[in-house]
Symmetry: C2
Subunit: 303 residues, 2 copies
Amino acid sequence: MSRVLVTGATGFVGRHALQPLLEAGYDVHAVSSAPAASPATDGVTWHRADLLGDPAGVVRDVRPQRLLHLAWYAEHGRFWTSLENLRWVEATLALVRAFAAAGGERAVCAGTCAEYDWTTGAATLAEDAPLRPATLYGTAKHATHQMLDAAAPELGIALAWGRVFFLYGPGEDERRLVGSVASALTRGQRALTGDGSQIRDVMYVADAGAAFAALVGADVRGPVNVASGEAQTLRGVVEATGRLVGRPDLLDIGALLTRPGDPDALVADVTRLRDEVGFRPRVALEDGLAATVEWWRAQPPTS
Amino acid sequence: MSRVLVTGATGFVGRHALQPLLEAGYDVHAVSSAPAASPATDGVTWHRADLLGDPAGVVRDVRPQRLLHLAWYAEHGRFWTSLENLRWVEATLALVRAFAAAGGERAVCAGTCAEYDWTTGAATLAEDAPLRPATLYGTAKHATHQMLDAAAPELGIALAWGRVFFLYGPGEDERRLVGSVASALTRGQRALTGDGSQIRDVMYVADAGAAFAALVGADVRGPVNVASGEAQTLRGVVEATGRLVGRPDLLDIGALLTRPGDPDALVADVTRLRDEVGFRPRVALEDGLAATVEWWRAQPPTS
């Protein structure tokens, strides 16, 4: 039985990778700096570690054959420019070096659509589209991929790099689009949004977790878009959320300005994920939004 | 008096940056893992530190306003592909973060001409030429620059990145071109070289050290080629070395094969270094080679 170590395993995406990895037959080890927050997943072995302080220790203890590295700084609004990105680059390089030194064979890491050039106006972004990150976050992720890709032969590992597009689902930050709309409407409050004309590739977070689990078990190397491949207007997403809550009357679409420089369309070409990894999203937008709304309904009221 | 910390200060280039920095009026602090090897330079304060083990400590102790970071893994033949490159990326990010946190204002780091795309056939490489490193070394340097450049506003520092081309001079590794020819001829041994048809930008190492010292004192940000701007054939360099030793008869030019993929020409556009930094190389090729030959003559015979 092959052993896999999952970092960021209590995170928005990571918690959804655990069950698919168990079902694929892996001996699943998960690392978190706060195991108290661990999702209750029978069969997962949890390890407490601070990857920023000691990135190598947990790898030396677990000696996994495969690594799914999802941990990164993700504080909403701050992660685009935070210097924490540099600390996570340092930790990631040290983690993957230690993984390789301990006999690791295949590493899968989380990249981002923010690595791509968003100014080309391309209808869809395939993995070989121009890369030109405009933020420290995108730059740090892109630089990490370049380095690990160049180092993979010397490390003696296979490397796949999942470029995540736009995700939504239970546990999403309340300041992000679906989170803000769903949390407001389920509390009977108005939800103010931009005009929603932007076209985005949105994926249900559990599908993203399952896609990463599939990447762990695949042979594919290099960048792979982790996305739905479907173009949605944000207005459509917001309106569907309003219908599902049953309070479309509380929507105030167009009340907020669109951020300057926000591109009209960001949609992934998912040919690699579909044909080379063999993964297809299972959760339709309407179903994913319904589950998200249910999750927000179940949250205790905030003060 | 502004305080500058120099890393790699006992290295091939670094030792030549100290005197120009002293002459420019800096309070010069130098760090080395082996201060016993320190060049005797009156007025320099030496610190012993292992930058790979504790990159931040020396910065917290010295609290410099300026940083000249030249230290990197440079083992001949190995540095192109070594995983030590990743360790130096980690150390460099941590070092510059600590420098900024301790009040640092301006950092100058060493990049490389190996960041450029060597396959374009361009007559000269300006700083905005396409970047496409073909090696782990070039990739690691390029990635580090991308990240530090993107992080500079958050770090609150100015960053300049000196892209070094081809250097020669005293102390050069005996397995590099000028080092191998000069060491062989001064010992009365034959020197075997390739056909020498390649055109390269070669700079005397003391000029490179002085150029970096000038970069520390300049206002320029971003990449700056550290090079002579002059095109030399390697054959011309080798033949001049033969004449200066007085043993051109020992040259066997064309005895070795040229490495596959070695580009025909690599010459820097030095407009930025000349006009924006105000630096011009002081040592003509003939004089630099003469000094190099003298240095080899003074070396004790090897067993």
